[in-house]
């Protein structure tokens, strides 16, 4: 019984990381109405960037991650402004093909640069610290931190979207880009800013992922699938829903792993498909 409770707690905590992966995707789905196939690969790209920064300068994982945040914002901004914007509003196919091509380029660029080895970033002992709460439940300090940061990210994005002038602009452009242009709000620039914010969420999740889990150049797609599942489970565009979706997947995987380690991933996908068939609009639909 204690063991089962412990597994559920671990699953919930993993869900925090999954929600982090998904938050940026949720934003791009909610605002720009497309799924970036390269989303997972961008997370992995930033994990390698953080790794390279640590190797080059000898700084710790936290400052390295913080250093990548501005890079991620600018990168996201320009990616949207000069590549994705050019194929937006032309139907589904071009945007999928472009982000798909990007995904393959990133994966193979990383393979060529860093090799196929599995990597991990050291958190300086932080990642092994554990809190014992009794009842057979142990909580890792790192997973707990990630979970708390994920909640803070939801709060921050929620505040940004619904309490700030920038947020109102983003929602306006998301509602109707043509009318936004009409009232003098250049939708292309607002989209680019939103993608910059997506970039920041990518860099934050990359920082935590690189300490907590192993990664290699081809680890992107599995992150994309998890992020996508969390977004759809939560209801497209709902940030709190995305967090819940991530937790459901984390718990499903943890319980699947109880049957057999090889059931971990499959259990997550099956739970996703079952809930999706029952509620295609997600648990917390916004529209």
């Amino acid at each position: 019984m204690g063991e089962l409770a412990n597994q559920i707690v671990q699953g919930v905590l993993v869900g925090g990381l999954y929600a982090m992966y998904a938050m940026g995707l949720s934003l791009s789905v909610g605002v720009m109405r497309f799924v970036n196939i390269a989303h997972g690969d961008l997370i992995v790209l930033f994990s390698f960037l953080i790794l390279a920064l640590i190797h080059a300068t000898g700084i710790g994982a936290l400052p390295a991650t913080l250093m990548t945040l501005p890079i991620a914002f600018v990168g996201g901004y320009f990616l949207q402004r000069f590549l994705l914007q050019r194929v937006l509003g032309q139907g589904v196919l071009p945007i999928i093909l472009v982000t798909f091509g990007l995904s393959i380029i990133i994966q193979n660029g990383l393979l060529g640069t860093f090799g196929a080895d599995t990597r991990r970033v050291s958190g300086g002992g932080f990642e092994t610290a554990t809190l014992r709460i009794g009842g057979g439940i142990n909580i890792g300090v790192l997973p707990l931190t990630i979970f708390i940061v994920a909640i803070l990210m939801v709060l921050a994005l929620d505040w940004l979207l619904y309490r700030t002038r920038l947020g109102a602009r983003i929602r306006a452009v998301s509602d109707d880009p043509a009318t936004a242009n009409l009232v003098g709000l250049p939708s292309a620039r607002v989209y680019a800013t939103a993608m910059g914010i997506v970039g920041v969420t990518i860099a934050i999740s990359a920082g935590f992922m690189s300490i907590w889990t192993n990664f290699d150049p081809t680890a992107g797609p599995s992150r994309l699938l998890i992020a996508f599942e969390a977004v759809v489970l939560g209801g497209l565009g709902s940030l709190w829903g995305t967090l819940v979706g991530g937790i459901i997947l984390g718990v499903a995987q943890a319980l699947g792993a109880q049957i057999d380690v090889s059931w971990q991933l499959l259990a997550g996908h099956i739970v996703f498909l079952v809930i999706f068939l029952a509620r295609p609009e997600g648990l917390f639909p916004k529209y």
């Binding site: 798909f100 393959i104 380029i105 699938l225 996508f228 499959l266």
Partner: protein
């Protein structure tokens, strides 16, 4: 009179296509075993490319999960031939049937997603099917299993003979896929599909049944992908989740083939497959870079000429090389 004297090029291209088909029909009598193996792969990829083009180029189903049906076909072939001991030649069409049956529930799932999200949704489904295939202990679980020698022998006792037989099966599958899909495109259904490709809303307004066409196309492709999976298994002589359900081989390459060749045209996948094999033959030793070249090339195509290489060529020509409109003669 945009292209007054270029009709001869079209006729020449048609003649060349016909000649290529004739040569390919007798290729095992002409070529070495290694070349036959490459041509077999070519035909399998061509089959898959034709199907992906039908979905993404016409029916607006941009799937990133069609490798699922290739894998299902592969596993079905193994199941019938090696486990149920069905005649291996009969196992091939049966594997198409299984792919069709699996396509039904898959369709129920992914068609609930709006088209923008269907791509990743189909990928999730494919991933799930692959992981589930790894749970089948009779099929070797996660590490896969080889076709028994008895089954392999059924296609010829000597290696050269077997290569030739499998080649002809691949040829028959590709020819069937090509001709049947061509006939589909020339039918009234094809007219609706072309209307849908050009302007989906407009097509809906003039009474084209969009959902019906999508369902038809999705179910149309599944058995052909299953057949391709069966052929590939005969060639590779084993099934395993990562190889039989390879997203790189049966989806990533295929998307590059169709996009670079020319999406939404009948000639595109053929040209794309030829170009892809040339790139693979000459550039595969540069490893990851050939992927990067393919990726950059396909993004460039989307940005510059969305109709791909065939779109570039077609501008100079007065007619399609493979005509799918029912006008017999080209008038200008």
């Amino acid at each position: 009179m945009q292209h007054p004297n270029r009709l001869w090029i079209v006729y020449l291209a048609r003649a060349a296509l016909f000649a290529a088909a004739v040569v390919m029909a007798v290729a095992p009598m002409l070529l070495a075993t290694r070349d036959i193996a490459i041509l077999t792969e070519f035909l399998s990829l061509l089959t898959i490319a034709i199907m992906w083009n039908l979905l993404a180029g016409y029916a607006d189903i941009v799937s990133v999960g069609q490798h699922a049906f290739v894998g299902v076909g592969a596993y079905a072939l193994f199941g019938f031939a090696a486990i149920a001991h069905v005649d291996p030649y009969l196992a091939i069409p049966l594997s198409a049937l299984v792919a069709l049956v699996v396509a039904l529930p898959v369709m129920v799932i992914i068609f609930r997603l709006r088209t923008a999200y269907l791509a990743v949704g189909s990928w999730v489904v494919a991933e799930t099917i692959m992981l589930a295939a790894g749970k089948l202990s009779a099929f070797g679980g996660g590490s896969g299993i080889s076709l028994p020698v008895s089954v392999v022998r059924g296609f010829g006792s000597r290696v050269t003979e077997r290569y030739a037989t499998i080649y002809w099966i691949a040829f028959a599958v590709a020819a069937l896929a090509l001709v049947a899909t061509w006939l589909l495109m020339r039918s009234r259904i094809g007219l609706g599909l072309t209307a849908m490709r050009d302007n989906e809303e407009g097509a809906g307004v003039v009474g084209v049944n969009l959902i019906g066409l999508r369902v038809l196309c999705f179910l149309w492709t599944a058995p052909f992908l299953g057949l391709a999976g069966a052929v590939i298994t005969l060639q590779k002589l084993r099934v395993s989740p990562p190889a039989s359900f390879s997203i790189i081989d049966w989806t990533v390459y295929v998307i590059f083939i169709v996009v670079i060749g020319g999406i939404g045209s009948f000639e595109g996948p053929i040209i794309g497959t030829v170009v892809f094999f040339l790139i693979r033959e000459y550039l595969s030793e540069i490893g990851v870079w050939h992927f990067i070249i393919l990726g950059v090339l396909s993004i460039a195509v989307v940005l510059i000429e969305p109709r791909g290489l065939w779109g570039l060529v077609r501008r100079l020509l007065p007619a399609d090389v493979i005509p799918i409109s029912r006008r017999r003669r080209v008038r200008r």
